[in-house]
Amino acid sequence: MIKELHFKNFKILRDARVPLGPMTLLVGPNGSGKSTVLEGLRLLHGNAGLDFAELKTIGSDVETVELSAHLSGVDAGVITLRQWGKTPDKNRVGKELVNREQCDANRIQSELASIRVFAFDPRKIQQPAHLQTVTTLAEDGSGLAAVLDELSSKHYERFDALNAEVARWFREYDRIMFEVPSPGQKSFMLRNKRDHHAIPARFLSHGTLVALAILALAYLPNPPTTVGIEEPEHGVHPRLLQDIKDALCRLAFPESVGETRPAVQVVATTHSPYLLDMFRDSPEDVVIANRDADGVSFNRLSELPNIRQILGESPPLGDLWYSGILGGIPAQP
């Protein structure tokens, strides 16, 4: 598990340490580096395709951009990615593993390669998937039809459980179905509970598509080791956010729902006070980003002074955040 990310001269994060846990909800104002943290995860995965000029803090004359991932568990150690900007042949970001302690480098590489960061785009989620080429859920949610199809054909019990959740989450639908729009492609539909008409994905609401993608992720038999999700509440009705939270917890704490697969480390960003409300009982899951003249800092909610007393008799956590008492709000004029 990644217990901390340390950014140096990385976009807005000049020198910022981000504490991470099994489940981390990042909150903070726009431009406070939440998405940059997810970008760091993407970079650890290795597919970011960014270059030095895009990564380095704007306005600085630094020569090195650095991201260190501090790992805990059996592979405790530090992995550092460095990029020297003025070395012509290293102008692309390269992954330099500086492993200061004894651990299994291959296993770490494999875990890092399994990191996925999602920013779900409903227009991509609804698209038909090419069955021969797409087998995983892409960053934008495309390929969901193929992922669902694979679940239905190879993991019947999981697919049944997923359908039961679909019926519970969406009320008007009770089952995922498939159609073949053209040879080699599949798209999914949701069956209407009342009259059993199947509604094609392209006619489903954006919120339903995003929620379905998150739900499917939670029911994968072999999910990524680490999952980053940009604003999982995007387009989702506030009443469904409890289910979204439960799906994220299913990933992060599989034993709590009787799952036997390994835990997935979850890092999600949010601007939703309603989603934040649901983390009142686990303040260690919440990390607040603050931006001031000195830069950006990240603090775990559970480590704020006297937080237990503050939360004790307060309004919902989301309201408390909105009030500014906890920080993580836009700078005042």
Partner: protein
């Protein structure tokens, strides 16, 4: 009898239905509320609207409210004495608010008043599930250690003991149902160990029968 519930989760609500049926000794028809207040401030803030909705727009006979005390003052028997009602006892606050609502609700012809029953999980409902099974878990211990930096247990520890995890999905009901079925087999012990939080609920419900 048609009964609506306000509690912390779907699981708590399903469990309460079992407990209430046993205390009333009759099958109840569960009236599902469209709204579920989230957390104490929300429960208290939306109580008036829910009460009036149940009275004017449904044929509910009763409303059962069960909230957690969290780190606030647990209810005590002396709170019922004149002038001794503290400002921060959630059970007393709910009781007072329900009295006000009952007094200020314009009676409809042929509509019986809404019966109400209030329980307080000290510090949470999971403590009831452990009553008798864990000798350290009871109202007296919790009240005695109020304000101390180190306490014998907390809400998350109670969840872990009751459900095997402190991350049970809010919509999951099965483990709550199992815990509730065990609880109703030892109601006497629960009432003895939680005389104010659970005892108040039991007393209110018995009053419905009379």
């Amino acid at each position: 009898m048609k009964v609506a519930f306000i509690s912390e989760s779907d699981g708590d609500e399903a469990a309460l239905a079992i407990i209430v049926e046993r205390l009333l000794n009759e099958t109840i028809q569960h009236i599902s509320l469209k709204a579920r207040p989230n957390g104490w401030p929300n429960v208290f803030g939306s109580l008036a609207a829910i009460y009036r909705h149940l009275y004017y727009q449904t044929d509910a006979d009763g409303l059962v409210l069960v909230v957690d005390s969290d780190d606030t003052l647990p209810h005590a028997l002396e709170h019922g004495e004149p002038g001794r009602q503290p400002a921060d006892c959630r059970l007393c606050l709910l009781k007072s608010e329900l009295s006000r609502l009952n007094a200020n609700t314009t009676a409809l012809p042929n509509r019986k008043p809404l019966r109400t029953a209030i329980g307080l999980g000290v510090p949470s409902v999971e403590a009831w599930y452990l009553a008798g099974a864990d000798p350290h878990v009871n109202e007296a211990t919790w009240a005695r250690t109020m304000g101390q930096p180190s306490r014998p247990y907390d809400r998350r520890a109670l969840k872990r003991k009751a459900y095997g995890t402190d991350r049970l999905p809010a919509r999951a009901v099965e483990k709550h149902l199992i815990a509730a079925r065990e609880l109703v087999s030892r109601l006497d012990a629960v009432e003895r160990l939680f005389p104010c939080g659970f005892g108040a609920l039991a007393a209110d419900l018995r009053a419905w029968l009379s």
